[in-house]
Symmetry: C2
């Protein structure tokens, strides 16, 4: 699409065009790895690998020097950002930065929305996922990984009620009435799933802290598992995290163990989708953020709580950044950010 | 950086600006998964996973329904592409689409170069790598993965001569004289390495063929391991692959088993870096492409062979798209493409 020239001020041969455009005008997209360090494997026996069916196995030496613990980052830098603070988007468990890119139904995701709203952005793959790579287990990672099944995703992400998943696939499974997730494109979401470990939280937090020191002051939007990484990042970097938006966090700091006063100057916003109250899992998970909310409010801080159906916005799943009305929710976020009057 | 308005033609209230700019003006970046399908695991026993050191292990059921065999794609769509044919960039073994993004030294990579040259581009993560995800072994993938060590990369990528790698790291290892790869940033490259399998060639080829049916007619640039996927893609899709550029392929089709006449209408270009003639491995690998070259030429086809040091361009490693003079080589590619007079 070409820019539309709305008006022109001609001053001699120079002019200032006022351009209304649907194009994305970037200075650059900078990608990098951050965090982690060197690890050496030694003393492991050769391994047999069969290159082709029927061929004799070859012997491979798994020992050597590697990098581990890094994360991968894409930094979108607008040619003319309207806002000083960039937005960092942190994905959930078993997912990657693809969470924020094109939606499963082909629509534009939140990364594009926030760029169009004038924010520079950072999309990342956390330690162990996607382009961040993963390390050998059990020698470096101490456990084998989990993998998310289609049935688990269908129910945990609240696309349909408990036991509604059909082995025949999403198209014949019962979705919640009014569901905003494009369930016909469920397999596009499933293809984005990556294995996940439960033993890499320390490395993940260290890499996020390193990213914050490079990219911030900033605003962080954290989804699901990353909600707790976001809460921790604010506690670890209270001068650099200027606002925190948490989309359905699974966990939160325990007010008995973390000092909410540290983050009392950082505005927090939690956003919750639909179908939570009758869910067998989500009310208990949401309660973790509610306890942390109460502690921050008791310390004099701002902690807003946006229950979408209570505001008349219905049908949102756990993957609300991929839902059909994702722009509506993103607009609530940018409105909330503007209302905080964040000054760099 | 803001667009520089060089000249303006005013026609009433409308005008056509001629813009010279260093900005990247995109219609959109579309990401998607393509290829693969459903796989079911059943009958596997529960697995013990230890969530925290000292904690009792939990039992995890690894069975269920998953997707496998997909690849991940980022399609950069210019607002105003100058060329009809997009460029698809295919990375090498143990790497991802990050190969084509920001270079380890922070400079702009080939994806940006080709966008600035007016080509829409596709950057992808092949089956099993990066955001494409990977599947359980040995039940789905039949083998465990390999991992590339620092020493292997240092020598295989011809940053330094055989046995020049020091366990103390790149900064104290002997690099080839005149080396163009930014060896001080070697660890940024190593952090991009992902595990690789040897048993997924059929799935990888199938996903690439699906991508070609969606994205082409096109030009393909394929590096290292992907060189052979590129040669195969041309044989499988001779009407859709309009030109093929192969950067130091490891393998090539065997002229005794593949019919070079099928691709005789597709111009081929091979590019080779420096330090090959004395290398213990590369002369044998390069010979595979030379045999395929001779077969295509015998069938009447165009197969150009660009030996960079023979043309006075010295110091290039196997990772020439990350070398300090990467723009010089990219410009040779766009010049070669233009010289083919490809018409859609």
């Amino acid at each position: 699409m070409h820019p539309q020239i709305l008006s022109v001020v001609c001053i001699g041969l120079s002019m200032i065009p006022a351009v209304a455009t649907a194009d994305l005008i970037l200075d650059k997209i900078e990608t990098f790895f951050i965090g982690g360090g060197e690890v050496v494997l030694e003393g492991l026996p050769d391994e047999e690998i069969t290159v082709r069916p029927g061929a004799d196995p070859i012997l491979v030496d798994p020992n050597g020097t590697f990098e581990t613990g890094q994360m991968y980052v894409q930094n979108y830098q607008l040619a003319d950002p309207e806002n000083q603070l960039p937005i960092l988007m942190w994905h959930g468990s078993a997912l990657t930065g693809n969470t924020w890119e094109t939606k499963p139904d082909g629509g534009a995701g939140w990364n594009r929305f926030f760029l169009d709203a004038g924010y520079d952005t950072y999309v990342s793959d956390a330690v162990e996922r996607g382009r961040a790579s993963w390390s050998r287990f059990p020698e470096i990672y101490t456990n084998p990984p989990f993998r998310r099944t289609k049935q688990e995703a269908w129910e945990l992400f609240r696309f349909g009620p408990p036991n509604s998943w059909s082995g025949e696939g999403a198209s014949v499974s019962e979705a919640y009435k009014g569901q905003q997730f494009p369930v016909d494109d469920f397999d596009q979401l499933v293809k984005s799933f990556v294995p996940r470990w439960v033993s890499n939280n320390a490395a993940t937090t260290a890499a996020y802290d390193a990213l914050i020191k490079r990219a911030c002051p900033c605003i962080i939007i954290a989804h699901s598992q990353a909600g707790n990484f976001g809460y921790r990042a604010a506690l670890n970097n209270p001068d650099l995290v200027r606002a925190l938006v948490v989309i359905e966090s699974v966990r939160a700091p325990d007010p008995a163990q973390a000092d909410a006063a540290i983050v009392a100057d950082i505005p927090h916003l939690v956003i919750l989708g639909d179908y939570i109250s009758d869910d067998p899992v989500w009310p208990r998970l949401v309660a973790n953020s509610a306890m942390w909310r109460d502690a921050i409010r008791a310390a004099g801080g701002t902690f807003d709580w946006l229950d979408l159906p209570a505001e008349g916005i219905t049908g949102n799943s756990h993957m609300m950044m991929m839902d059909k009305n994702s722009d509506t929710i993103a607009k609530l976020i940018t409105d909330w950010i503007e209302a905080q009057n964040l000054n760099d």
